[in-house]
Symmetry: none
Subunit: 288 residues, 2 copies
DNA sequence: ATGAATGTGTAAATTATTTTCGTAGTTTAA
DNA sequence: TTAAACTACGAAAATAATTTACACATTCAT
């Protein structure tokens, strides 16, 4: 079978008026329609339940339920939309869910495509050899910074993350050659973060930036530039996709790091989970 | 493989004898089981229909039909051989990059597929009407909590996030009816987070949980349960995919919230960016 | 015009699912 | 050890969903 949806579309012309109406509704609402019961589907399509039931029979499905199952199996396989979707007013939650999934997936694939393996490898090497790692980021990027910090702690790497501008500078001013500073900012133009990275660099630390793709102050300043995909104007509200992309890069960095010294780091990672578990008296497992 | 089957396998040990029997049958017969009605499934598994129905409730599916649909959607995807990739020793960075992209994308699609729109809508409604919102999370989940907090602040919603266990309880004890508490924990078994949510609930606040899919203490406690896909054993190291999935759900919640009061919230969101820009003297745009 | 054929909705019959309730077994406390 | 309180579970009642039977239009051919 070359797809239920295709079949519906093709046969649509030959169907009885009301059946076509039901078929049309299914074609237009896809996933949403597949989740409904016959009663609600009929109501929304503006036909009787009997008509829907007969539509299924017309296509030789044994029952409506049979049709529904096969349809949703088919739709589950369907690849999701390939373009960014903007947030608009009064969208049904259903649309928001699929738009968000599309955006995040797009953000990850775009970022992956733009990654420069050489720079990434350099970053991993530098981080692996670092005496001490400082991570800077404000607001949303501060969260990404904190996330990386937490990961590094678990494998026993001496790291710190700062989102406060004074602390950033304070810490940066204490860095020395052999240390690494990672500055995160989607725009690459966050003044505090720029200042902190400049200060770190002046003190001899290796400077890594993580920004949107293209020319920006932070990347220009850095020794090693890492990039996430650039989003369209409307999509920046909420910094959602950009943050996902940043975390994606962080995860790659971290995994690269762990992989490079697998035998040393993995037991530590494992151990950190065990210890958290152990020192939580009498209670269940906790994995955050 | 992730999602329902993984969850069933994992939880199997904790289930009541007859429920386990039903779960076992589903695990062993996959596709075949997904096609059956509750009556026949119960018969073949050697249990009563009531037990099967209860099994679905145990895992927080709204009905047996809901369970069946999500299961068959999951199984339909199986043959496409995408599966989570574990971290291994000495992987070339190139492999890590593609594995990470695959994992994150999988995590997002799995989570999206398992989302319960009704519960999601309830959560959005409750959050929109909330007097005040408390968000609890430890470690990695604390980062997700903080992220949501930052978003809510930008649209002028009175929210707070706590990862410190004492502060969590302190704040929870001050909640009142009309307030909302959102507790985040991948495992759903983080003691501090559970205590905080319980406390919040006892004080009359509406309790929302965000955990891995299935039965867990936190979800059982909550008034509204939100879920991310369940990851396989090896994938948990580093909490990477789980955190991406949690953020994905948070983004949907937030967007749903903004969309529900578009005219009120979007200007605020826009304004918050403008103001940050304005009060940063002489420097470029900053979007985190 | 009139009868046959066709398409459709309503409502009854059927089927499926959930919930209630009682029992039997198990744990807890005295 | 016994009584009380739980707990798990299935039978069956209640509810919900789906299909089928039937009646009523409408169309089309005669």
């Amino acid at each position: 079978m070359a797809g239920i949806m295709t079949m519906l579309r093709e046969a649509s012309g030959k169907l009885h008026p009301q059946e076509r109406r039901a078929a049309q509704y299914i074609l237009e609402h896809g996933m949403e329609a597949a989740g409904l019961g016959i009663t609600e589907l009929a109501q929304r399509a503006g036909v009787s339940t009997a008509t829907v039931s007969r539509l299924c029979k017309t296509f030789h499905f044994s029952t409506f339920t049979d049709f529904k199952m096969k349809l949703s199996a088919e739709l589950a396989l369907q690849p999701s939309a390939q373009s960014y979707q903007d947030i608009v007013a009064g969208n049904p939650l259903e649309d928001i869910v699929s738009a968000m999934a599309a955006n995040h997936i797009r953000s990850i694939t775009d970022t992956t495509r733009l990654l420069d393996l050489k720079k990434l490898q350099q970053a991993v090497d530098v981080l692996a050899a670092a005496n001490r790692i400082d991570i800077y980021g404000s607001a949303t990027s501060g969260i990404v910074a904190e996330d990386f910090y937490q990961k590094l702690v678990r494998i026993g790497i001496h790291a710190a993350s700062y989102s406060d501008s004074h602390l950033q500078i304070t810490s940066a001013s204490l860095l020395r050659p052999g240390d690494v500073a990672l500055a995160i900012s989607y725009s690459g133009e966050t003044p505090e973060t720029i200042d902190a990275l400049r200060c770190a660099k002046e003190n001899g630390a290796t400077a890594i930036s993580l920004t949107k793709f293209g020319a920006n102050t932070l990347a220009n300043l850095a020794d090693i530039q890492l990039f996430t995909s650039t989003l369209e104007e409307g999509m920046r509200r909420g910094n959602m996709a950009s943050r996902i992309a940043q975390l994606h890069v962080i995860d790659i960095l971290f995994t690269g790091l762990v992989s490079s010294r697998f035998d040393e780091y993995v037991p530590r990672l494992e151990n950190s989970y065990q210890m958290v578990r152990k020192y939580r008296v009498n209670k269940g497992v906790a994995e955050g």
